[in-house]
């Protein structure tokens, strides 16, 4: 009833009854764009608040509780502050690159939004290479970080950017391999195919050992890829003050900040799609009554519930673990995660050929 697909269909029918098909398409595209930007702003606010609350409760504090009821408007107030702040450009900086970098980070995050299925039949662009597209586009992120670090004309920024480059390029591998595990089991790169293949059970339940290993590898790899603690070496504040965004202020800083959170959301959404079935409700084999009850919960709630569970996991990591050192970070990838995920891919392939999964 209240699922996104239902609303979208209503809207489509209503628009079609007023305009001709071309105008309908144009209006729908504009609406989608506005919705994505709105989603961005909304997600940014919600995730920042969520992060601060999670951190506070773990750290036996109360967290934001001054602005608005229960401090809910805190991140709105912060955004307002950042908007009215002056965006400084340092004297020796490469002005063009310095100013472009945060927008590239933002554009990458926006592009990644395209193939994500937010609810049943609610997807901006269901392309046949969906998963490949996500892993390809997300690596553009490193360019914006390198640009920011280089153009700032600051040694801390440069070191942060170089660290980040090494880190993202390495962890791309095991993230890709763990995604590949699911692709092998499904036999398709298309997001909708992957979700539909989980109608009888999510991959995390029916995939046995290879999928569990892939899930753990995926979480570690994406935590590193989004530069979040314990892999936040690019901005390690006790070593590099703030890493690649040391020189940024005002809204340009806020864009980096927002892009980081959006990226977290997207990788968690991809994780939820691949391993936890996306918007697919929780089904158990042939228990039709149970399955029908589960179907009553709207698919958008399933999707956001799973995504936020993954986001909580990543936040939980951040507020528990100390940071790794740069050589240990690369050791972890090349000596542990990469061999494990390669062997795991072999296992998954064998399993897919022999049909051992449910």
């Amino acid at each position: 009833m209240w699922s996104f697909s239902h609303i979208a269909n209503e809207l489509h029918e209503w628009l079609s009854s007023i305009f001709n098909p071309t105008w309908t398409l144009v209006i729908e595209m504009v609406l989608a764009g506005v919705a994505v930007i709105g989603l961005f702003a909304g997600l940014g606010l919600v995730l920042v608040l969520m992060e601060r609350r999670v951190a506070a409760w773990i750290q036996i504090r109360l967290g934001p509780n001054r602005v608005g009821p229960q401090g809910l408007l805190q991140s709105l107030a912060d955004t307002l502050k950042l908007i009215v702040k002056e965006g400084l450009t340092p004297n020796g900086a490469d002005k063009l690159l310095f100013n472009i970098a945060p927008f590239i980070a933002m554009i990458v995050a926006m592009l990644l939004m395209a193939p994500i299925a937010f609810a049943k039949d609610f997807q901006l662009w269901d392309m046949n290479i969906g998963v490949l597209y996500v892993s390809a586009v997300s690596s553009i992120m490193v360019i914006s970080i390198l640009m920011a670090g280089w153009s700032s004309n600051n040694k801390y920024s440069l070191m942060g950017a170089m660290r980040s480059g090494a880190q993202i390029v390495s962890y791309e591998l095991s993230a890709g391999l763990s995604i590949l595990t699911i692709v092998v089991l499904t036999g398709s790169l298309q997001i909708s195919d992957i979700i539909h293949s989980q109608a009888t059970g999510w991959w995390i339940f029916k995939g046995h050992l290879p999928v569990w290993i892939a899930f753990v590898t995926f979480i570690i790899a994406v935590t590193a890829e989004t530069n979040r603690a314990p892999f936040d070496l690019a901005e390690a504040e006790s070593e590099l003050t703030a890493g690649f965004h040391t020189e940024y202020s005002g809204m340009k800083f806020a864009l980096f900040f927002l892009a980081e959170y959006i990226n977290v959301f997207i990788v968690c959404a991809i994780g939820a799609t691949l391993f936890l079935g996306g918007w697919m409700p929780f089904h158990i084999g042939n228990l039709t009554d149970f399955n029908r009850v589960m179907d009553y919960i709207p698919s958008s709630i399933w999707f956001f519930g799973k995504t936020f569970f993954m986001i909580f996991l990543i936040m939980w990591f951040r507020w528990t673990f100390p940071r790794l050192r740069i050589d240990q970070l690369l050791n972890l990838e090349w000596k542990y995660l990469l061999p494990i995920s390669m062997i795991n891919l072999l296992l998954a392939t064998a399993m897919a050929i022999l049909g051992w999964h449910f």
């Binding site: 999670v54 409760w57 773990i58 109360l62 509780n65 528990t320």
Partner: protein, 158 residues
């Protein structure tokens, strides 16, 4: 063997991480452990320790009398020159001239709350108050005169 050592290493590492995560999850779910004091909101119920050294005050009784004889012991004891005693000549009822304090000037901005003046005072004329909200908009407001206007020394205090 190499592979067993490798697996053991991974197992131990993951276990240590899970132990830490269990601990943080405990605090995430147990909100009664929160220790935050919401300071400006709890001002009515906030009780400072009775010995807390906030600022130097001179207690007066209801007849506007204090116990300060003007012996300057506090002025000498102070390491920072926080206290200055200014004298005036007063006529006693018998018509004799008597030295008494006019003003006991106290510079709160110089004070380090070391309690040495209170220790040095032989007649217990000054003591430490438990106030702590000392911020003001102008520095001159921090220079205080401890004796009330028109106050006299208490009878029997020498």
């Amino acid at each position: 063997m190499f592979i067993i050592k490798y697996i053991k290493e991974v197992y131990r590492g993951v276990k240590s991480l899970l132990v830490g995560m269990k601990r943080t999850l405990y605090y995430f779910t147990h909100h009664k452990e929160i220790i935050t004091q919401e300071y400006p909101d709890n001002r009515d119920t906030l009780v400072m320790a009775e010995r807390f050294k906030g600022e130097v005050v001179m207690p007066h009784n209801e007849k506007n009398e204090h116990r300060c004889t003007g012996c300057q012991a506090c002025e000498l004891a102070c390491p920072n020159g926080t206290i200055k005693v200014i004298f005036k000549n007063e006529l006693t009822p018998e018509g004799k001239k008597k030295k008494a304090i006019d003003k006991l000037v106290y510079h709160l901005e110089l004070c380090t709350m070391c309690n040495l003046c209170v220790e040095a005072c032989p007649s217990d004329a000054i003591k430490m108050a438990q106030t702590f909200e000392h911020s003001v908009y102008d520095r001159s407001e921090l220079t205080k005169i401890l004796n009330n206007p028109g106050s006299k020394i208490m009878d029997g205090v020498e």
